[in-house]
């Protein structure tokens, strides 16, 4: 070991506990005292102090971002319900909940689960579909444009780096922002205004995604003041991969080839930075700037090399840069890397900066020596820089060399498995939910509420964003994000469908992508929030024609600090819901990610985000012709509601708009819901359904309105015909006197769909639905009048579909 002027020795062997902690903070290592002591002890055995690059490598590899220490660590969980406490210890929360469900379900069509850069399910006998969703929250809070652009760039590289590389077919994005109309004076110092963040984030995703030639087809946005300082930016990519390209294995003697962008100082400490809370002094070097043109060239060239079987493994440089990528690929073999060979943007970088920089658009390949010239030739033909910087060894050590000096030498075993398991405590008190006082409204008040709900930020049209994204590029988007008569008259689609006919010749199969997100429910009941997100993602997919028997889901937990007992307790509750719902719906998780420490400190007071679980769903539909959209199709056709309406206004948009504190958060009833979803698939497969839309935010009133105004049609709905179930009683009731018309119209009960049926198909449709709860509630009108009527309660709400459309369209119209 030799230290050059650019490589320092870090003296830790003699440090006391307090000094170890100070060292971790000073160098932004985000390592706990226990972890620092394990490092100290390792180097004591080696009888030397570590170099700066060794300490940085360990910090990156052991970061929360890379190791998911909270979800895989030990959690001593206490739950209190009705004064009674129960305790449970999780040795690995992820393995005992989310992952456990997938293992127990053991679906043969799941080809790669939680072990690579993305999850993969079977598409057909020769191909798989890969899907990954990532978060890029902290960078987007500091630099919205660059942060979100590199968010989408990073997740695209995850798809390029799964197996031997998948071809990206579609992007998704989901955002949570503060109120864009927030008064400037109320925005804390050092925080960007939510509108500025939103504009920057949308532009970043737009510019990167569009320039990559990948359509952005599906997404969601949630607004809540809790996200003012900590916006959430989820980016997802789906791609297709031949089954024989899913496995990768590095062999000793393979060369380490770095391909794509040059390395600069951008993104230093990104991985460890994501484990700390933001404040106004947060570090500039954590900001990454993306260049989609380079990534596009990498994409095109690497797939060419893949198809010629020229390399044995690939992964992307994400958090931790070369450190994580090469460390990961060389875990079972060992690697020696010559850092002075890494192409740099400019001079002056220290070796440790080169090693952990998160400069974008870089991929690392393991290439057999005999193929190296051919691989480099393919990249250079398209002006993509490809440089050999080392080789994979058989000594199971990570060796870093700079200017002929060995500046790091560590065991891969210590690096990857040496991190001590933290033990955290978690507590959750189950709160009893209370049904709100009956919401009695006259026709005028219900009408005004409907308009307010359509205009609410969490319901209104996101056209301003959707139209900035190219959702048509590649020409395979069959079901699009906005659906309706024309560009001016459209409504929100439930899910996107991609028909990959240009990649897989003569196929009839297609891929459905959807999502579920309910942060408002999470404020009251994290278990129901997680369960609802899972159900909603499946419901959205089923609404366009998906078969839930061929669907898989991805989890993305965004939470506050796990150091807070109750915050961690709510996370445990959510993971429990993931296990329960995955098992009950028989839908496995195939990939996931967590982003913790989403909190901001102002004047030493900490503000945590409302916890949220994003569920992204993917499925394969057998026949692309059997898919449906949400706008009504023809006057005279019948309208049905499928599923039970319960008195569930807790966390609903209606409660927020009307300032109703109480209310039961919508629950999930998997047995009835799963059965309904399977029957809808059968009905769609037999071409019995003309239009289908899921009931979510805003309930039946909003869903029916969206179906009507997107078609420029009217509809008459009989509120008295909607079947309800009182939450307070065990038995289903067809008599809906337990709920007021407003509660029936705006309840957000899960498991419901609005369906349009031709009168001729009614009999066949009812036969399929036999045994389930459904009711005919009205018919479609050509006169463009949207009417909700309850004779029993003397209610008649009437609006023109055009007026409702404009109420929905005009909120975000920048």
């Amino acid at each position: 070991m030799k230290c050059t002027s650019k490589c320092k020795t870090i003296r830790i062997l003699s440090l006391c506990d307090e000094q170890l902690i100070r060292l971790s903070r000073k160098n932004v290592l985000s390592l706990s005292l226990e972890e620092m002591k394990v490092i100290q002890s390792y180097f004591k055995k080696l009888k030397r102090d570590p170099t700066d690059i060794e300490i940085e490598t360990i910090a990156q590899t052991w970061s929360e971002h890379c190791k998911h220490k909270t979800l895989t660590g030990i959690i001593e969980y206490t739950e209190e319900e009705s004064g009674k406490k129960t305790k449970k210890t999780y040795n690995n929360l992820l393995k005992e909940t989310v992952f456990k469900a997938s293992v127990e379900l053991n679906k043969p069509w799941c080809l790669s689960v939680f072990k690579d850069n993305a999850g993969i399910i079977e598409f057909d006998s020769e191909n798989g579909v890969a899907f990954k969703v990532e978060t890029h929250n902290h960078p987007s809070a500091l630099e919205p444009y660059g942060g979100s652009a590199t968010g989408i760039g990073g997740v695209i590289r995850d798809i390029l780096g799964v197996g031997l590389g998948a071809k990206p077919l579609a992007n998704t994005d989901v955002f949570c922002f503060g109120d864009p109309d927030m008064e400037v004076s109320k925005v804390p110092e050092g925080v960007h205004h939510p509108k500025r963040i939103m504009r920057g984030v949308v532009s970043g995703v737009r510019d990167y995604g569009n320039r990559m030639g990948i359509p952005t087809v599906n997404g969601a946005i949630c607004f809540d003041d809790g996200y003012m300082s900590n916006p959430l930016v989820y980016c997802g990519t789906m791609g297709i991969i031949p089954k024989n390209k899913i496995d990768k294995k590095v062999e000793s003697g393979d060369l380490v080839l770095v391909v794509g962008g040059k390395t600069g100082r951008d993104g230093i400490h990104g991985a460890t930075f994501s484990s700390i809370q933001l404040d106004k002094e947060s570090d500039v070097s954590a900001v990454q700037i993306g260049n989609p043109i380079i990534e596009k060239k990498v994409l095109d060239t690497m797939l060419k090399a893949r198809d010629l079987n020229l390399y044995r493994a690939v992964t992307d440089c994400g958090a931790g840069g070369l450190s994580s990528a090469i460390g990961e690929l060389g875990e079972k073999t060992g690697a020696v890397v010559y850092l002075d060979k890494v192409p740099l943007k400019y001079d002056g970088l220290c070796p440790w900066e080169i090693w952990i920089s998160e400069a974008q658009e870089r991929m690392v390949f393991a290439v057999p020596p005999k193929n190296i010239d051919k691989v480099i030739e393919i990249f250079e033909e398209e002006d993509v820089e490809a440089v050999c910087i080392g080789e994979f060894t058989d000594d199971k050590k990570l060796t870093l060399v700079y200017d002929n000096d060995v500046i790091a030498s560590m065991d891969m075993e210590f690096l990857h498995n040496g991190v001590p398991k933290p033990t955290r405590r978690a507590f959750y008190k189950v709160k009893k939910e209370k049904v709100q006082k009956p919401v009695k409204m006259n026709s005028f008040e219900i009408s005004n509420s409907l308009i307010s709900l359509l205009a609410d930020l969490n319901v209104c049209s996101k056209e301003w964003i959707v139209r900035q994204y190219d959702h048509e590029v590649q020409g395979q988007t069959v079901i699009k994000p906005l659906q309706g008569c024309n560009i001016e008259v459209s409504g929100p689609g439930d899910a996107a469908v991609i028909f990959p006919y240009t990649v897989i010749k003569d196929t009839k199969k297609c891929i459905v992508l959807s999502n579920g997100l309910n942060p408002q429910y999470g404020k009251k009941n994290p278990y129901k929030m997680a369960a609802s997100a899972i159900e909603e993602s499946l419901r959205n997919a089923v609404a366009v024609g998906a078969d839930i028997r061929k669907m898989a889901i991805l989890d993305n937990f965004c939470w506050g600090s796990p150091n807070d007992l109750e915050v961690l307790g709510s996370l445990v509750r959510a993971t429990k819901a993931c296990y329960d719902m995955s098992k009950a719906f028989e839908v496995p998780f195939i990939s996931g990610k967590d982003s913790l420490h989403n909190e901001y400190s102002i004047n030493e007071k900490k503000y945590s985000i409302p916890p949220v679980l994003l569920i992204s769903a993917i499925g394969v539909i057998e026949n692309v012709e059997n898919t449906v959209t949400m706008p009504f199709k023809k006057g005279g056709n019948k309208v049905f509601v499928l599923g039970v309406t319960r008195n569930e206004l807790g966390g609903s948009v209606f409660s927020k708009v009307k300032n109703i504190e109480d209310g039961v958060v919508p629950g999930v009833y998997p047995r009835e819901s799963k059965d309904m979803m399977e029957k809808i698939y059968s009905a769609i497969s037999e071409n019995l359904i003309e239009a289908c839309h899921d009931c979510s935010e805003g309930g039946i009133a909003v869903a029916v309105s969206e179906m009507a105004f997107s078609a420029n049609k009217g509809v008459k709905i009989d509120i008295d015909a909607i079947k309800i179930y009182s939450c307070l009683e065990e038995e289903f009731r067809s008599d809906n006197s337990e709920m007021t018309p407003a509660e029936i119209l705006f309840s957000e009960s899960n498991g419901r769909f609005i369906i349009e049926i031709k009168p001729d198909n009614e009999e066949k449709f009812k036969k399929i639905l036999d045994g389930s709860v459904f009711s005919e509630i009205g018919y479609i009108r050509d006169d463009k009048k949207v009417i909700f009527e309850s004779r029993k309660n003397n209610i008649r709400v009437q609006q023109s579909s055009e007026f409702l459309l404009n109420s929905w369209r005009n909120t975000i119209n920048w």
Binding site: K195, R265, S282, V284, I289, N291, A359
Partner: protein, 176 residues
């Protein structure tokens, strides 16, 4: 060293300028009456005026909707004297009453547009070692104090001070 400025022609809609004006109003600053936007490129290296004009006219400007201005620059200062202009009408701007905010990337921040320009200049046939720096310029009309320009408009709207820096030329200062 030359500075190339790309402006929207007067007869065309300057949508970015209009958006900035609307956002300035959103910040509660009501005395800005008009905002105009332009892109800036500083080209440094062994390059002459005619080559710079070729870069401006053949690479950077959309000849239908945009015009360009070329000025002489040194490290810290850019002359107000226009060496070349594709549209003489643009020279009138020098006589108008406006404040200016220029936004540039801080040293060390990746500037992907400049990387593309360097590559494209080579593709144009100008094979010389050059460096390019990119920025934005906002012309703001109306009576605006330096404090509002710097602390509100520049830092809360136009530049992210984490990665960008601003140069502010305040009309009020000039008049004083």
């Amino acid at each position: 060293m030359f500075e190339i400025e790309i402006l929207t022609k007067k007869d065309f809609k300057d949508s970015r300028g209009e958006r900035v004006l609307s956002d300035i109003c959103g910040l509660g600053v009501t005395n800005v009456t008009k905002a105009e936007y332009s892109q800036l490129y500083v080209v440094d290296g062994d390059i002459n005026l005619s080559e710079t004009e070729m870069i401006a006219s053949e690479l950077l400007v959309d000849k239908v909707t945009e015009s360009y201005i070329i000025r002489k620059c040194c490290a810290e200062y850019c002359s107000e004297v226009i060496l070349k202009s594709s549209d003489a009408k643009e020279n009138d701007r020098l006589n108008s009453n406006f404040s200016v905010i220029e936004v540039w990337y801080k040293k060390g921040v990746t500037d992907t547009v400049s990387e593309s320009v360097v590559k494209a200049v080579e593709d144009l046939g100008i094979v010389k070692e050059i460096k390019v720096k990119t920025g934005y310029k906002y012309y703001l009309y109306g009576k605006i104090s330096r404090t509002i320009l710097l602390n509100t408009i520049a830092t809360k709207l136009l530049a992210n001070t984490l990665i960008q820096e601003c140069k502010v030329h305040c009309l009020a200062d000039k008049k004083a």
